[in-house]
């Protein structure tokens, strides 16, 4: 299977590589704008408001206006800040988030880098963002930023573990770390998705509760890793103002913002690839043409985005110790239980 349609179209490898890099970048920007709009509009509809109504048709251009505003703003570096680190942090964070896109297959014909250890890579690179976060929090020379950064590190590091357990289980189930292969394994109807035990004999229904549990565990961990409510403690505005990006404004704040949204897409994509059939149509061969596959993939990722927004406007925020409790005492033990059950199933199959 050829992994990149761009390579097929363009002879020159350099230009092709450039285009391959630019496509996800453009995608991230468009995706972030749509996600921001969704956030604004869903929030306001839940709260019986109308939300932004004056920019474009029914306020659809609001995110664009916000980004333009952010870019126009004065770039402020506080006097007491550690300037090199302060300026580096947002870019590091964005770079880390963006690097994850290298192995995300939008469709079988578009995989920027077809490395075999894709799952491992995306997980490793995802943790790098924490450094940018700590850097920003520390270099701001602000106590609120520092508190936010510390909370953030504790949170992200703890929640990597349940997430890793969930990923490990799926790797066991599929026998591969290549995201394209994992996705390919789940082709067919939606009961072949790994959240429903993956393809297998009829008695796989025994493992379905455990895979569902793993899906839930991974979902909760992704919420925590992307700092979404109810785990938005690092930027809990009522306590520590804005957490690690208290001192950031303008362009650098926009970088943090985009990094966050890029990160959100990565975790959503992983969730979809591992549990929800990736780029496969849920209905067998129906609408499973090559041009529909990326659409399915993006639609599924947007469903996750909708879910997080829905949760955000429903729930209050947890406290730091309760967050840790949830990670180490609830998600991790149950993750292990599910992992053992899945392993047993694989051995017996």
């Amino acid at each position: 299977m050829e992994q990149n349609f761009v390579n097929m179209l363009i002879e020159n490898p350099w230009i092709a590589a450039l285009i391959i890099v630019v496509i996800p970048l453009v995608f991230v920007v468009i995706y972030a704008l749509i996600a921001i709009l969704g956030e604004l509009k869903i929030a306001s509809f839940v709260q019986e408001r109308l939300g932004p109504m004056r920019t474009g048709w029914k306020g659809t251009m609001q995110p664009v206006a916000e980004v333009v505003k952010l870019l126009q703003k004065e770039d402020i570096t506080p006097d007491a800040a550690d300037k090199p680190l302060f300026n580096l942090a947002p870019f590091l964070m964005f770079a880390a988030a963006f690097a994850g896109f290298a192995v995300i297959p939008f469709s079988p014909y578009f995989l920027p880098a077809g490395i075999e250890l894709g799952l491992f890579y995306v997980f490793a690179i995802g943790s790098l963002g924490v450094i940018g976060l700590v850097m920003g929090g520390w270099a701001s020379n602000n106590k609120y930023s520092l508190l936010g950064a510390m909370r953030s590190v504790a949170q992200i590091v703890s929640y990597e573990i349940p997430a890793a357990i969930a990923i490990l289980s799926i790797a066991t189930l599929s026998g591969s770390l290549n995201l394209n292969v994992i996705s390919d394994n789940q082709s067919g109807w939606f009961w072949n998705w790994y959240i429903f035990g993956g393809p297998g004999p009829w008695w796989k229904i025994l493992v379905i509760p455990f895979t569902l549990g793993l899906g839930l565990i991974y979902l909760i961990s992704t919420l925590a890793e992307t700092n979404r409510t109810p785990f938005d403690i690092p930027e809990g505005e009522s306590e520590i103002v804005a957490g690690y990006h208290t001192e950031y404004s303008g362009m650098k704040f926009a970088m943090f913002f985009f990094a966050e949204y890029a990160n959100m897409f990565i975790v959503a994509a992983i969730l979809m690839l591992l549990f929800f059939g990736g780029w496969n149509s849920p209905f067998g061969d129906f609408l499973n043409q090559w041009w529909m596959q990326p659409v399915w993939f993006i639609l599924k990722a947007f469903f996750w985005v909708f879910l997080t927004i829905w949760l955000r406007w429903t729930l209050p925020r947890l406290r730091v110790d309760q967050l840790m409790y949830m990670s180490w005492k609830v998600l991790l033990p149950w993750g292990f239980v599910c992992f053992f059950a899945v392993s047993l199933f694989v051995m017996l199959k």
Binding site: F45, V46, E48, R49, L50, L311, T314, L315
Partner: protein, 194 residues
């Protein structure tokens, strides 16, 4: 251990209850009033910007005295009876308002000034959109007599006062005379009695 499971179940259950509620509200009617296009109905008795009808004001200073923040400043001049047109409601005008201004930057919109007004000259209106970029623009001058007019009125008043003074003096003289006459008369009478 039981508590552990109970907490977990409660956590999941209450989150689902909340999600159900927010989902219902996601599709319910929105209550936003899109302000400059649509407007919230303001009741007629709303206490917003004050309005003074200069034709009704008699400069009795009751509004200025009632104001808790002293935002009303009034200057007045005594009116000459006979030469002065009456108020709009037909009452006699005792004083000319030469200067009447309200500083809306100070005004606290309590409406206390409207209550003691004998002629309902000062009133609250429903107008609330009058923000300006300069603080001076918030000082509203309702009456400002030009210098010539003021001078004219002052002169009239001076003449009138002079006349009055004369009259008064004449009266006083007449009175004194009358009294003196009465006295002498009385003295005469007593004399006569004797």
């Amino acid at each position: 251990m039981l508590n552990y499971f109970k907490n977990m179940w409660l956590g999941v259950y209450t989150v689902l209850v909340g999600l159900r509620l927010t989902l219902i509200h996601l599709f319910s009617r929105n209550v936003t009033v899109q302000y400059p296009d649509e407007r919230y109905p303001i009741p007629p008795n709303a206490r917003n910007r004050l309005y003074l009808d200069p034709e009704l004001c008699d400069a009795c200073l009751r509004c200025a005295k009632a104001c808790p923040v002293n935002c009303i400043s009034i200057e007045s001049l005594r009116a000459v009876p006979g030469l002065t047109p009456p108020l709009k409601n037909g009452d006699k005008r005792n004083l000319w308002v030469t200067h009447y201004e309200i500083d809306f930057a100070k005004c606290c919109f309590c409406g206390l000034c409207t209550e003691p007004c004998p002629t309902n000259a000062i009133n609250t209106t429903t107008e609330f959109e009058y923000s300006t970029t300069k603080r001076e623009d918030l000082i509203y001058t309702f009456v400002k007599m030009s210098d010539e007019e003021k001078k004219e009125k002052e002169e009239q008043l001076a003449i009138y006062q002079a006349e009055q003074k004369k009259k008064k003096a004449a009266e006083a003289e007449a009175k004194a005379k009358a009294e003196a006459e009465a006295k002498t008369k009385a003295v005469n009478e007593t004399k006569n009695d004797n």
